[in-house]
Subunit: 706 residues, 2 copies
């Protein structure tokens, strides 16, 4: 697929070009001309001879072979035959603005499918259908039907919602914000977010990538591209449809089937994408990322001419990952030489209400030089003294920021009297806000991104397992399953499967007679647990089918007889195989839960939490997409709120964290190796300072429809 | 104190008025004249004869008696004598703009104290010192030195930070936002936030009150005023200095000693004040509250011409307290008659991209009429179709909103092409934003406020207690305490004190011989716990001083001898009184913790949480300021995250919630009755489905410095 032709076409045909200014086919052509496009333009229209000064081609068949791009603005039904013709002509990129495809129902869905197949067969870079088009400012390309074109800039934007594209273009024109590339993805029949990440990662005109998506087309591919991409450039993304009602709206809208939000959250986190919740934040952050260096640490210094706003900044800082920098003695002593005695020399540095441009300059320079400072915020209230010197203040800040490798932010508190200075700063690439909180929000995101970039790449080690034995067990179940059906693998076989992955399943034997049971118990070691073994009985305790803490052969034998007869009595129809004899975990072990389910888009989503109320009531659970490395497993364990309980509080001995890591990476491997195990629940897993035991496990095997 | 003279002065003297435009004394006079003030103006200056057309008085002594207001802009040292003179002249209100008082050190602090005393003796309404002044738009009063005056409006603003006043005035001028009253409180020597709440609550020109505070001057008075006020009008407030570094900055700034943030949080919640975290939100909410009716329920309907923004709104809605309204069948069927077939008739109602003004009108009317809808958001992307009809769309919305008792909000997605329509809507009192999230934020706050207003007033019932017995116990300790010292009341006496408040202390006796111990055990009933009774041993277990689960007189006697001799062996210097014999709580009871400490500003802050890790590790604690009613006690219990554990999950029996409520209201009463008990820790309290037992308790008595 020729993405270069897509973004830098040498020739563009506008099929459906119109002389009527009310038509989309007119807007597209007119936008293209106004963008200063220098390549060849071919309006296609069966009736006209010339539109907007360009000679018209009457039929698609008359277009030259091997065109770089064709844009379709015709009604829906002619779209499919047109794509076919364009494919025959060897057109490299096709943009389908026309709507009425999979987003409106069955017929449209099938047409879109055919279009997609033609494009894929012919390796066409196809955008849409149901989109606004695209803009590449650097190449003078604007094949959208939007009113108003944005300035050129170093930020790229792509969106699954065409309406949002329109709104954001309108907003960008009003705010004088520029874009390098601007792409409306529409229904994503071919080109999707992964192609964008791939291309924009190497685009020299783009420093920051913004995206709005409602779903992801190919989860695993997206993860791979995003991971590679996010180490090169920051990617800020909104994923909507997180709510139940939102997801309902999403699926009625572009026919997107929203994946679970937890899986998206994990996918973004594991691939370094910065997730943003609202559009205002998207642009606040974009401004910061696009023009300032990343902070090398969390320590922010604030220089202010007023106390109140300084306090509010410190408050916001404390609610974030950032810290208020502790200034060095040297810096403090240096400032004493030029600051008045009422000034506060500690961060926030309050240079008080009569501060002028010169005092701002001296203080800012001193503070930014301090080795304990990773970022500087200059906070200014337009007092009578400083308001007449704002131009000088701005000059000085621009000079300072240009010479520094640390990020510099400005907050000019107000609106009316600071407008000119604000504009000057923003034009010079200094992020400038009216209140302090967006500064903290931006810097926090930049610091998190910097941490992500500094983190070594994750290496998932292949774990040695008895894959053969595992396949054998699973095959036993597969053979009995018809397509579309599921079965649970429980107890003995599930534990066998875990053992094939070196997972610490509780030692278990099966016995068909009381003598065998006693023998097995001797081997396992007392005390033991006995459970009825029957494929027909799932709630064992309800039929008196469980006995714990058995201490001798006599107790085991008697329990065997009682359990099997009780079970027979309660469930006369059940096939009773005998009893399971299981080691009994020592008292005082902590309960944890490990499991996974399978997300449609992203595959196995691992889950970890503490037993008891922590998972069910407090929802204190961590998630990651498999496969995970050992350090990611450690992250999962550390990131639950009740982690302190595992580590040990108030002098208590903690549990063996490494044993939990082992379980997580092995379960991750199992989930990756067996795509048809769709759910696993190791619950509870018991753990103390010596080891972990999987006390119970339940796996669900699902045979897909071919 | 004559607050009417303060806000509506008939005559104003500006002391320190200057002919030099660079001086504050010039700015104040000039602002007053420009505001169109119609009362008498007396500039005071020793040298000039006329300033800005007004004849000058040379000495304060020459001013008329009984002036309504004098504003001081002189240097610091002449301020105190000036206030003295003004007091002698019977001046009703004094505004001290001059800085250099308690915010800068000892000398200033004492001067401010004297000023405060003079004002209080003479009942002068004194503002400042160290402030920007005040504005009353309706009375043509502007005695600030700020550049630029805001328009008139129905929102009042007061602030402890003068710089913030300046910033916000500048911002308001730029945004064309109006204020009814605008007051810079400065150091709050006399007039503070409580006076503001009191006056503004009845001010007919004010519908919404905004405040910025760093601390509260008189906690209990503030609570009372705020509670009365917030039922009349919404009060939105920023309390800064929440962080450690923020609080440090706050105390170096206006000399404020910040109370604990939990106490403020409780104070705001219990008095119905809406706490806001940042200035941008303060104005977003102010706009909404000041011009739209409150929603009568949480159900929001959205009408949109684009899917993506509709989904984002539903997402934001789900993250809030609001719900997406479920439209009635009647509404849906009604809309089918005029909406195209691709439209989505369920909320968010998507009237699709080619919607025009008329389709917006019909749909909005139908949806707003629906009984399941409490509020309407009209969401509009500037598509080609609708962009030329925006003026009509705005007209229709204004008409609709004016006729409805439900709040109507508008979100015009974009900036450039929607600017005119946005201005029209805002001027007509329709809150209009560019992105959906601020709408949700505003409506959520309005809905919460509506819930607060609908809640019956809390009635704290006086609880019958044996106050006399309690006094007797406490007096025993008081007599031994010197001022400024503290003592702990523990064990036996603490439990006696609880019993005087009918709190369920564990049955306890004290015995000095083993025979007495056995007798006491018989009376309490087996099993019992024995603990060493010694004022000198606080960690009883460390010296072998605790034995549990004693089942017979023999065991009790033996335990008595062992405990006392062990204690003597480990702590030869300790005075051993004997042993405590205590009832032993049955197994399986849940541990909870109840306590209080005393906030400098707000008094006793009650605390409730579950034992174990819930309080210490998970910080799952609820707070309220005493005294509390029974329904507030119930609120405290319900508002912890682990409440489900008390209520019972998975078929478990819950605990007796009413028994916990009893404890909370009684501890509340105890905290209120004994101001010198500065801390209480009932930990653990054991509770099951039948009753609660206070197993251990520790009270701290503090003798204040006279």
């Amino acid at each position: 697929m020729d993405m270069h032709a897509f973004f830098h076409p040498q020739h563009i045909a506008v099929i459906g070009a119109s002389a009527n200014p009310a038509k989309i086919g007119h807007s597209v052509l007119s936008n293209l001309i106004q963008a200063g496009y220098e390549g060849a333009i071919y309006p296609v229209n069966p009736k006209e001879t010339q539109i907007l000064g360009h000679p018209v081609t009457h039929n698609i068949a008359d277009l030259p072979r091997g065109l770089d791009m064709a844009v379709l603005t015709v009604p829906r039904d002619p779209v499919l035959p047109a794509v076919r013709q364009l494919a025959e002509l060897g057109t490299k990129a096709v943009v389908i603005i026309t709507a009425g495809f999979k987003e409106v129902g069955r017929e449209g869905f099938h047409m879109e499918q055919e279009i997609k197949e033609i494009a894929e067969e012919n390796d066409i870079a196809l955008l849409g259908p149901n989109c606004l088009g695209l803009i590449n400012s650097g190449a003078g390309v604007n094949v959208t039907f939007a009113a108003g074109a944005p300035a050129s800039g170093n930020v790229a934007f792509f969106s699954q919602s065409g309406a949002l594209c329109q709104a954001i273009l309108d907003w960008a024109v009003g705010e004088n914000m520029g874009f390098s590339k601007f792409v409306s993805l529409g229904n994503k029949a071919v080109i999707n977010e992964s192609h964008m990440l791939d291309y924009l990662g190497d685009d020299p005109d783009t420093d920051v990538v913004l995206g709005y998506i409602e779903n992801v087309s190919r989860g695993q591919e997206f993860l791979r591209k995003a991971r590679a991409m996010s180490r090169k450039k920051p990617v800020l993304m909104i994923k909507s449809g997180t709510s139940t009602s939102g997801a309902k709206a999403a699926s009625s809208h572009t026919g997107a089937i929203a994946g679970s939000d937890q899986a998206y959250e994990a996918a973004f986190q594991q691939s370094g994408i910065i997730r943003v919740r609202d559009i205002a934040s998207l642009f606040t952050l974009a401004q910061a990322f696009s023009c300032q260096p990343l902070p090398q640490g969390p320590n922010l210094a604030v220089v202010t001419n007023s106390g109140g706003p300084g306090i509010m900044t410190a408050d916001a800082c404390e609610r974030s990952k950032l810290h208020m920098a502790r200034l060095s003695q040297e810096t403090i002593e240096g400032m004493q030489e030029f600051l008045p005695s009422f000034a506060s020399l500690h961060n926030p540095v309050d240079i008080i209400g009569d501060a002028d441009a010169e005092r701002y300059r001296l203080t800012s320079e001193a503070v930014l030089r301090d080795q304990n400072v990773n970022a500087l915020l200059i906070l200014l209230t337009p007092t009578a003294t400083v308001v007449s010197q704002l131009d000088q203040v701005a000059e000085n800040i621009i000079h300072l920021a240009n010479q520094s490798e640390k990020p510099v932010f400005v907050c000019l508190m107000g609106k009316h009297s600071i407008a000119a200075a604000q504009q000057k700063l923003v034009q010079a690439g200094i992020p400038c806000y009216n209140f302090p909180e967006p500064v903290i929000q931006s810097l926090e995101a930049m610091y998190s991104y910097q941490q992500w970039r500094n983190r070594p790449e994750e290496h998932v080690e292949e774990i040695r397992t008895d894959r053969e034995r595992a396949e054998e067990i699973v095959n036993g179940f597969r053979s009995r399953l018809s397509p579309g059906r599921s079965v649970e693998i429980v107890e003995y076989q599930a534990q066998e499967l875990l053992r094939a992955y070196d997972l610490p399943a509780a030692a278990t034997s099966i016995a068909t007679t009381s003598a065998e049971a006693a023998q097995a118990a001797e081997k396992i070691g007392y005390p033991v647990v006995l459970k009825v073994a029957s494929p027909d009985i799932s709630h064992k305790s309800d039929v008196g089918g469980v006995r714990v803490n058995l201490e001798s052969p006599e107790q085991v034998k008697q329990a065997f007889l009682e359990i099997t007869s009780q079970a027979k009595y309660h469930e006369p129809q059940a096939y009773i195989h005998g009893c399971l004899i299981q080691e009994m975990a020592p008292g005082g072990m902590r309960e944890i839960i490990v499991g996974f389910n399978r997300d449609d888009q992203f595959g196995p989503l691992l889950m970890f939490g503490l037993g008891g109320i922590h998972v069910e009531v407090l929802k204190d659970i961590s998630f990651k997409l498999a496969p995970i490395s050992r350090s990611q497993a450690a992250d999962m364990i550390r990131s639950i709120k009740s982690y302190m309980l595992l580590k040990g509080i108030r002098g208590e001995t903690g549990v063996k964290i490494r044993a939990i890591e082992d379980i997580l990476v092995r379960v991750s491997q199992l989930a990756t190796d067996f795509p048809d195990i769709v759910e696993a629940d190791l619950n509870p897993v018991l753990v103390n300072d010596e080891r972990a035991i999987v006390a119970d496990v339940r796996l669900t095997l699902h045979m897909p429809h071919t």
